[in-house]
Each structure stands twice: as C-alpha cells, then as structure tokens.
Symmetry: C2
Subunit: 346 residues, 2 copies
C-alpha cells in the first residue's frame, strides 16, 4: 500500500511535469500550497518558447515574491498566441503575457484580432521593457573560436551595424531561443546567438555582450491578459509598484455603421469630454470585411470595413470616460471595452 502510494505520487508528479512542458497545459495548483498560506501559485501563460523575450516579460511581471504569500508563479510557455488565449479560456492559466508592439518594428496586430475573437478575455495590464539583445555563446569556448552569429531576422535587423563590425557570418533562424538551446545542448563553440538574458540563464550560455542592438530606443510592449469574469476573483498582484511611472489606460474597440468617415466623430466624443485619445488602430472587420455602398456622386463603391481600436487616458469608470463610452455605443455597430488597466515601464 505504501508502495502504491509512492507510485501514485510519482505519476502525479510526472503528470504535473509533463503538463508543464512547452505547449502543454499548466499543472493544477500544487497540493503543498499550505506553505504559502494555502494560496495556489499564479499560472502565467506566455507566447513564445523558453528563453524568449516574452518569457522575460512574464517573469518580470510576475516574479517570485515572499510578500505574495504564494508559491512562485508558474510561467507556462505557449508556442502559438492562440494557445495562450486558449489557456485563459479553459482555466489552465490565470494570466497571459503576449507581445503587443516593438518600438522599431511596429505593432503585433495578431493579439488585437484574437482579443476581438475572444469576448471573455481582456487586457489587464501593459508592460514596456527595454530590449536587451545579448550576444550569447558557450561559456567555455574562446571568443576567437566564433565563426558565425545566428538569430531571428528581427533581432538581426536590430543589430546590423554591430554585426558588421564583428566580421562573422550571419545566419537567420526561425527561433533565437531554439538556436540558443541547440548551441548549449550540442556544445557548439563556433556559433554565437543573439538572444535574451533569460535564454542565457535557461540554457547556461555566457553573455558576451549586453545591449548589442544598434538603436538605444528599442523597447517591447506587452499585454497582460485575463478572463473577464475572473479579474476580481483571482487575486494577482504583479510585483510592479503602482508608482509614478504607471498610467491608467482604457482600450475600446468598435465598428462604425458609416465606416472611417465617422472615425473623427467617434474620436470627438472622447476629446470633447476631456478624454484624450492616445492611440488609433484598426483591424479588418472579419465578420464583414467589405461593404458595398451607394455614393450620391459616384455610384457603387466598395469600402473596407474596420474594427477601430482606441486607447484612452483614464479608467473606464471615470465619469467622463463612462459618459463618452455610452455616447459611442449610440453610433457604433458594436463597442467593447477591451480593458481598463495600468501601463508599467520596467
């Protein structure tokens, strides 16, 4: 009986580890949560593999902290953005961290499309992090042994000038973190990887250079996502102080019966109430991407139809924001607050 119990524990542990693996589902709250006041760990899904910049963002947003009275957060890799959304929807994760924008390359529109497709998921926080592209190599290998540098095309494009000065062969790979793991596991001495600090830590590589990027103003913006109904229920306190660098924002998505020609009118609804519009985006209205309409002077005309996405200063419960949102709903085909949250600069 004792041996059976032992076996059961082993299987449970294996299952937990297995479900923790990249692409798998997170483990259930640990049974030994009693050490942490009985509270289960926060489960944070992120888009990307081990060693990715998004893992770095998830770890920064949810660090282990004794003040939490919780076991360390479970940081769960998801190979696809869809997987991170699914983990929230099926209750396998309490939070998800996904990339939203790079200051040099622009926004990642995919997560707006997914937010529009998942009405129960909303933005609960925003995190801006400086990009630190590191030049990584095997710890034991001498620098003179290096013959080539590999990374994702985006990272390579961020480090073009610095790479040129190295006079090494440069090769693009689909995933910088997979390349870092490959170099570490196969002890490849002639190859450096441009990757994150967390990749160095995860795979035991040496950081030859920090901040290897050409431009100083290279930042990533990430969204923290949560399930709408659970925001109050799941107590998650990220370790980012509500300090002076933080800022309250509301993101609202809506369609307009008269399309872009009403966009300014929609913006005016906010600005005229003292609510500043700080971002204007649009995505295809997938339920009805093109409208054919009659124009008095020009006959039939096909116009692309959009879902507009505005960022506003303030929270959705501010009197002015509330009044403006109520007015917007009168002219919008649909309108939905995607989130009312705090922006943090780490």
């Amino acid at each position: 009986m004792a041996s059976k119990l032992g076996l059961e524990i082993t299987i449970a542990d294996l299952e937990r580890l297995f479900r923790w693996a990249p692409g798998g589902h997170p483990p259930p709250p640990a049974a030994d949560a009693a050490d942490h006041g009985g509270r289960p760990p926060v489960r944070v899904a992120y888009q990307g593999g081990r060693g990715s910049y998004c893992q770095e963002a998830a770890a920064k947003a949810f660090p282990p902290s004794s003040s939490w009275q919780r076991p360390p957060p479970l940081i769960i890799p998801c190979s696809e953005m869809e997987e991170a959304f699914a983990a929230l929807e099926d209750g396998a994760a309490d939070r998800a961290v996904v990339p939203a924008e790079n200051s040099v390359d622009g926004p990642v529109p995919r997560n707006l499309d997914l937010l529009l497709r998942h009405p129960h998921i909303c933005i609960v926080g925003e995190l801006v992090l400086p990009v630190n592209h590191c030049l990584l190599s095997l710890p034991q290998a001498p620098r003179s042994a290096l013959r080539r540098v590999v990374s994702h095309p985006q990272a390579i494009s961020h480090c073009r000038d610095r790479l040129r000065a190295l006079h090494l062969r440069v090769e693009e790979v689909a995933s910088a973190n997979d390349a870092a793991r490959f170099v570490a596991e196969n002890r490849i001495a002639d190859t450096a990887v441009i990757g994150s600090q967390i990749a160095a830590r995860e795979f035991g590589l040496r950081v030859l250079e920090n901040n290897f990027q050409d431009l100083a103003g290279n930042f990533n913006r990430f969204f923290q996502l949560g399930l709408a109904g659970s925001i109050g229920a799941v107590v998650v306190e990220p370790n980012l102080d509500d300090n002076d660098n933080n800022k309250h924002k509301t993101t609202v998505a809506f369609s307009l019966e008269r399309g872009v020609s009403d966009l300014f009118r929609a913006m005016w609804i906010f600005e005229s109430r003292g609510v500043r519009v700080t971002r204007v985006d649009h995505r295809p209205n997938r339920s009805n991407p093109v409208r054919v309409e009659e124009r008095e002077e020009a006959g039939e005309f096909a116009r692309f139809d959009y879902v507009f996405v505005l960022d506003l200063d303030g929270t959705a419960s501010d009197t002015n924001v509330e009044a403006a949102l109520a007015r917007l709903k009168e002219i919008a085909g649909f309108a939905r607050v995607l989130g009312s949250y705090t922006c943090s600069l780490a």
Copy 2:
C-alpha cells in the same frame, strides 16, 4: 563585319532577356519602338514572382492597349519589396505596383516604411481588386487523382471551409506561384494549388474552381508608385477610366513633437477645414523610436514615437487641403505628402 553586327545584336538581345528575368532589371526601351509612334514601353515593376496576385494587379493597371500608342508594357517581377523601390530609384522602372492591404488580413505596413525611407518615391495610384483564389491543377489530370492541396498560409486561411469539404491533405508552402510552376513543370497530377488566374495562364494549369475563398468580401488593395520628379515627365496612362468609381485621395505622413497627444489636434486641422480624414495609420519613427519625457505628475516616462499617416479626401492642390497641410507643417516635426492620387476599383 556583318557577323560582328549579328553577334552584337544577339548579345544585346540576350542582355535584354537576361535583365528581364525575375529579379533582374528591365530591358531598356526597345529599339523598334517606331511601330508605336516611337514611344518606349512603360516598365512596371511589381513585388512578387510570376503568377502572383501582384502581377495580376500590375497587368490590370497597365494592360496592353492600342490607344496607348506604345508597345505593350513591360511587367517586371521583383522578389522583394525593396527591389521594386530600387528599380524606381535607379530608373529601371517607370512604375511599381506593391500590395498595400487585404480586407481580411489587414495592411502591409512594409511599404509605408519603405515610402518613408525613399523620399523621392510617391504613391501615384491605388487599385482595389477582388481576390479570386483559384483551385489549379494539371490540365490533363483527372480530378479524382488529387490527393493534396498546397498554397501560401494566407490563401489557405482564406479557403479553410472549402478545403475542409474537399477531404484532401492540405500543405503550406512559402510561395503559391512557385508551387504552381513546380506542379506544371514536373507534371504532378496529385497536387492542386490555390493560386491566381494569372498563375494558371503563366504556367498552363487548369482552373478547377474560381473564387474558392470562403468569404465574399475578400479584396486586395495595391499602391502604384512612381518617382516624384518623373510623374509629369513619364506619361503613363493606366487603362482604368477616370470613372464614377474613382476617388481622389491624398496621403500625408508626419511626426508630432508632442506625439500621440497631438494627433487629434492634427486631424482637427483637416476636419475643421472640411477635409475628411479617411484613414489613420502610424509606423514607428525609426529615426527616434522612443522619447523619454518628463510628466508633471508622473516623473520620467518613455513613450513610443510614431510617424502618423493620414488619408484625406481630395487632392493636395485643393484649396482646403493646401491650407490644412500648411497649418500641419507648423505643428509637425516633419510632414510629407506621400501622394495625391486616384483610387480605382477594378
């Protein structure tokens, strides 16, 4: 001497053919232009390979036409968007056609970045075309021989429901037109390709189904580009009538010293003068992607800096547009009209 002359002609012809090849530069105006009133052919670079939707757009915008008094246009494939821009800059092409947006998947931001980097290139026309995804196969092969369908991930995502009903294996490839050529050249009877009508014509494939996409509202938007100084000099008359479906637009790009918080003010400059803003886009300001600024209430704050891109109703020479542009320049870090052009729905 005659043989030498003969040889010279052959080399010139070979050179012309060689430079006409995919990725190469276009031939110089043909020597026998006398048949066409002495006018050289219009050379149109497009982004994509033979058989691509962009080739279809280029052919639609510049069809052979006797009314032109010119030899047929030379349609020149460019594998990269940069190559099409370079062909304009070095005088190897008179026009370029590049994809700007798909109504289901959203904009192609790369060409805005390139337009910002190439100050002498501007938008001279816009073309909206319905997407016609065709199911293509070898003409001789029976339909029952088909075992799989291949295409670019975007085309596959547009045809997901129809593909499911076929009960065939579906495989993603990097280039649908390369796949179409491969199927044709290697006489592969078990594979259908989702591709363009022009791919069927170019490679001799059979169109099993037209409009194989799931959604009816699937349109592509293309830009026609030209070199700013040459717009008056090179007479190019696309075969699209200035009919009732056409519409005059102006696209202006600018940066704002105070960033997004001044965006509404910039839009107001146009709207208050009766100039309708029909599109609001932004791209990273690559020369200065992030600004660190002091906020009275919140200390230091890093904000992403953008180049804003607005589409306006009307031409840049309209009195109201002109006045608004002059006013915009007073509050903008830089401001540039990317083009004043006609939008055509084919």
